[in-house]
């Protein structure tokens, strides 16, 4: 068995959070008190004490009762790694997926602990590539345009045309690619942004009658199920 003294056994994600918090507080105030840590992480003092003891046992911090906490050399190194990952993640969510700062921060916090070093390092390379390389410019343009639109329609209040109640209106947001004769429906005006109104159902139910622009179209329920709308009040 290889005996690599440099790699300590992996610490739990909550301990990583503690280490990260300690590093941040030290960066701001030069020293970290138990109280500051508890405030930052929204936990109780005894839990902080508990965690600090574990970190101390792993030789990551210098910890003496009633004294500010400081990092050991090893602790500082690990905290830097965690910090670096978090920043890279946050940047990715902010720059590539176009989330706002807070959303990006939260998402980064959640994700950084669950993926291993290997995945993380490759991920960071990808993020940097997209952000910096010249030949990725069209991709960046595309992302700039598409991502914000995706954020707006988060799919929660979409309704399929087949479910639209009679008399109600909706704007087409998305048409499934597996709609048969997609092009035909598009030619008739069933494209993104068109306002539709459900006018009624035929006897025995299968046909729907929908007002598209200024004309009435009738189409089958199963085809209508592929057309997604945002309902208008």
């Amino acid at each position: 068995m290889p005996n690599d003294t440099r790699t300590s056994p992996p610490i739990s994600s909550s301990l990583e959070d503690y280490l990260e918090a300690i590093a941040e507080i030290i960066a701001e105030n030069d020293h970290a008190h138990t109280k500051d840590i508890a405030e930052k992480l929204h936990v109780t003092m005894p839990s902080v004490t508990n965690a600090l003891q574990t970190l101390y046992a792993r030789d990551l911090i210098v910890y003496q009762p009633h004294m500010p906490v400081s990092l050991t050399a090893r602790g500082a190194e690990q905290a830097a790694v965690i910090r670096h990952r978090h920043v890279a993640m946050k940047k990715f969510f902010q720059d590539v997926l176009k989330l706002d700062a807070q959303e990006a921060d939260e998402a980064a916090c959640r994700i950084e602990h669950v993926i291993g070093e290997k995945v993380m390092s490759r991920f960071i390379v990808l993020a940097k590539t997209i952000a910096n390389r010249e030949d990725c410019k069209p991709l960046r343009d595309f992302l700039n345009q598409t991502m914000p639109q995706l954020c707006v329609e988060d799919g929660v209040d979409l309704i399929s045309l087949s479910e639209l109640p009679i008399g109600r209106q909706g704007v087409v947001v998305h048409v499934d690619e597996n709609l048969r004769a997609l092009k035909k429906f598009a030619d008739l005006g069933l494209v993104r942004g068109t306002l539709l109104q459900m006018e009624g159902h035929a006897p025995f139910g299968d046909l729907l009658r929908v007002k598209v622009m200024c004309s009435s179209l009738s189409l089958r329920r199963k085809d209508a199920a592929h057309i997604w709308l945002k309902q208008m009040s």
């Binding site: 048969r180 030619d187 942004g193 035929a202 299968d206 009738s218 189409l219």
Partner: protein, 713 residues
């Protein structure tokens, strides 16, 4: 100036294009709301001042994307024929959807004229147009018209002439946004390199856009094969960028551009009126009362057709009788006796067979034209779809089936409105089972003889129901076997209600009737001549009785009154005819037929009469009359009834009707089915299939009836 200018008339279905066409050319043609009225290529010519113009009326289409037969026809026409001006008729009340086609027509690079039709409708909806803005957008002048009242037609004509003779400008190039335009431009450059410009008048940009749309028709052109991967990649990239499917990329962009233009150039005033059309539809297509209303309307149509046509049929019959009598008396008996018989029996009989239908068909088509013209036909299809769908058909199949109760020939022709080929063929195959008007004489002869009064209406109803249910059952079977497959996409526009003008109704009625006369009339006439020959030849030389001598005996008889004499004479003539017919080809075939037909309750006389029924169903009755040695006329009808009562029992009579209902469609149907399907396999298959089915069902009914002792008395 050129000798002849060519204009292509293009527009969406139901935009009033045909009305404009009629107004310009004076060519009388149908104006309708029902989708797919103009399927064939239609041309007209007109002269404005000293400018000669040929106008090609393209079928009504929503897009130039070869996704339907109409669109394919239109594209081919536009690409192949050199055109001086595209006249794009646009429903001003529904600009957004209509201008979608205009964006595509503009790309043809041919000078364009936009006709904002039905502006009265648009005003009712409260639209106010900024025409100069639209003109600038499309780079094409605009004329406002109201086709049905011929408003604005003079301005249209004047402008057309000016554009044709003067230097008309090409339409503006429509921009779809930075990224799309870049892609189009790069493809345009590539297309320029690939194409031989001498042969094409259409600009490369048009092809570039079509390649980007992945239009099957254009992409299939061999010259563009090397460009396909490039186009596909560009399209894919743009689709991803816009976050939509690559198939609808251009559609999305076009509608986007149009929405922008409409926002700028249309304002709404406050004069919006409540639309009558919507209120009518609230009732007519209602889930619960829609169906009963539809059935009522159909009942009314049938009542109108059959009741109103009755006196007309009588007039036709009277006139035919007179003509026949006139020829008979004017033609010397000695001169060409066979030819005289051919003219009297074959030709006049045949023409009569065709003409007798005319009143029925005229009125039926008038009613149908009215329903189409108002826009109700589409509603009927909408209302009936749920029911028809259970049998694998769809709403549009219902109208031909309904027409089938009148005459199968126009019904088969009406299946053209069904887009899906499989649905269309299924409908055509089952149509002969809808009991047509020509079978009515058979029922109305047999039912009163064999069924008690209270049962008569019910029996008639049962026959019709059997036909219709067999039709639906077979449709379901066909769709589950031969024409198996996922049902095709069904999208249908329900156009707003409009009052058709009387003129357009009459034009339509006339047109359809001419088609019937042309397609079915000639065949019925031909068939009755053939029938005359097989009824007459070979001629029996040595007769059983010396009819001449017998006739003289009657004449010289002193015991008989004058009345008795003529009655006896008539009977003698019929006996003579029967003996001749017995010996003729028809009689011989009938006797051979009678061997298997015995099991279905037919004797040789009824079997021979079936040969007549193949020519035209109503001939069954007259053949039966001849074979039973009775003449034709009032007294004879009574005599025929008596004879039939003696020869058959009610079960046999029912089987006769059943067989005539299901069996061989008439010659007219066979001919029109072949013309519409262009397939002998289907035509012969239908002929054989229905005949076999008729035999099997009739035999089963007859044998069961006999075994259970039903209707033998």
């Amino acid at each position: 100036m050129k000798d002849l200018y060519r204009i292509a008339l293009a527009g969406n279905p139901n935009c009033g294009k045909t009305t404009i066409f009629n107004a310009l050319t004076g060519t009388r043609q149908h104006v309708g709301n029902y989708p797919g009225v103009t399927v064939e290529r239609k041309c007209g010519s007109c002269r404005i001042g000293n400018v000669n113009i040929e106008i090609i009326d393209l079928p009504g289409i929503y897009s130039l994307s070869s996704s339907s037969p109409e669109e394919k026809v239109a594209i081919r026409e536009l690409l192949k024929t050199p055109i001086d001006l595209v006249m794009n008729v646009v429903d001003a009340a529904n600009l957004q959807r209509n201008l979608y086609l205009s964006t595509q027509l503009a790309e043809l690079g041919v000078p364009m004229l936009l006709v904002f039709n039905m502006v009265d409708d648009a005003r009712n909806r409260g639209f106010v147009f900024d025409l100069p803005k639209f003109e600038h957008y499309f780079g094409a002048p605009i004329v406002e018209t109201v086709g049905s009242r011929e408003e604005g037609i003079d301005q249209l004509k004047a402008l057309t002439a000016k554009l044709l003779v003067g230097e008309a400008q090409k339409p503006a190039i429509i921009r779809y946004g930075e990224h799309i335009d870049l892609a189009i431009n790069s493809l345009t450059t590539a297309v320029k390199d690939k194409r031989d410009f001498a042969t094409q008048a259409i600009p490369p940009r048009y092809f570039a856009i079509k390649l980007l749309e992945n239009d099957p028709e254009i992409c299939a052109l061999p010259a563009f094969a090397p460009l396909l991967p490039v186009a596909a990649e560009l399209c894919e990239r743009l689709a991803v960028r816009h976050g939509i499917s690559s198939a609808t990329l251009m559609a999305d962009c076009r509608y986007g551009v149009i929405a922008g233009a409409c926002r700028e150039a249309i304002t709404l005033n406050n004069e919006q009126r409540r639309l009558v059309s919507d209120s009518i539809d609230k009732v007519v297509t209602n889930r619960y009362v829609g169906l009963p209303i539809f059935l009522l309307i159909m009942l009314f149509v049938f009542a109108f057709t059959f009741i109103c046509s009755e006196p007309l049929v009588e007039i036709v019959a009277f006139l035919l009788d007179r003509v026949s009598a006139l020829i008979d008396s004017a033609w010397p008996a000695a001169a060409l006796p066979y030819f005289k018989a051919l003219v009297l029996e074959g030709i006049i009989g045949g023409v009569g067979g065709v003409l007798m239908f005319i009143p029925n068909i005229l009125l039926l088509f008038l009613a149908i034209a009215f329903l189409e013209g108002t826009g109700y036909m589409a509603r009927a299809a909408f209302v009936m779809d749920g029911f028809m769908h259970k049998f694998g058909l769809h709403g549009k199949s219902f109208i031909p089936m309904l027409l089938g109760f009148g005459c199968t020939v126009p019904a088969v022709m009406a299946t053209r409105t069904i887009e899906s080929e499989r649905d269309r063929l299924t409908t055509i195959l089952i149509l002969p089972l809808m009991s047509c008007g020509a079978r009515l004489p058979i029922y109305s002869l047999l039912i009163p003889i064999f069924f008690p009064l209270r049962m008569q209406a019910v029996t008639m109803w049962i026959i019709y129901i059997i036909g219709a249910s067999l039709a639906l059952g077979i449709a379901a079977i066909l769709k589950a076997t031969i024409f198996k497959g996922e049902d095709e996409v069904f999208v249908m526009e329900l156009p707003p209600y409009r009052m058709p003008t009387m003129k357009s109704l009459l034009i339509h009625m006339g047109e359809r009737t001419m088609v019937y006369l042309h397609k079915a009339g000639t065949i019925i006439l031909g068939a009755s001549i053939v029938l005359f020959f097989i009824n007459t030849f070979p001629e029996k030389q040595i007769l059983d009785h010396d009819y001449k001598a017998l006739a003289e005996t009657i004449d010289n008889s002193t015991t008989m009154s004058q009345e008795e004499k003529s009655l006896a004479q008539d009977e003698l003539v019929s006996q003579h005819q029967a003996e001749m017919l017995n010996y003729s080809l028809a009689g011989r075939i009938g006797k051979k037929l009678a061997v298997p037909m015995r099991y279905a309750g037919f004797d040789w006389k009824a079997s021979s009469a079936l040969i007549g029924a193949f020519a035209a169903k109503e001939l069954f009755v007259s053949q039966l009359a001849i074979l039973h040695s009775v003449g034709q006329g009032e007294d004879a009808a009574q005599a025929l009834r008596q004879k039939l009562r003696d020869s058959y029992n009610p079960l046999q009579a029912f089987c006769l009707m059943l067989f005539c209902l299901i069996s061989i469609p008439c010659v007219g149907t066979v001919a029109v089915v072949y013309k519409e399907t262009q397939s002998w396999k289907i035509t012969i298959g239908q002929l054989g299939g229905l005949t076999t089915l008729a035999y099997v069902i009739t035999t089963i009914v007859y044998q069961i009836g006999r075994a259970l002792n039903i209707g033998l008395a």
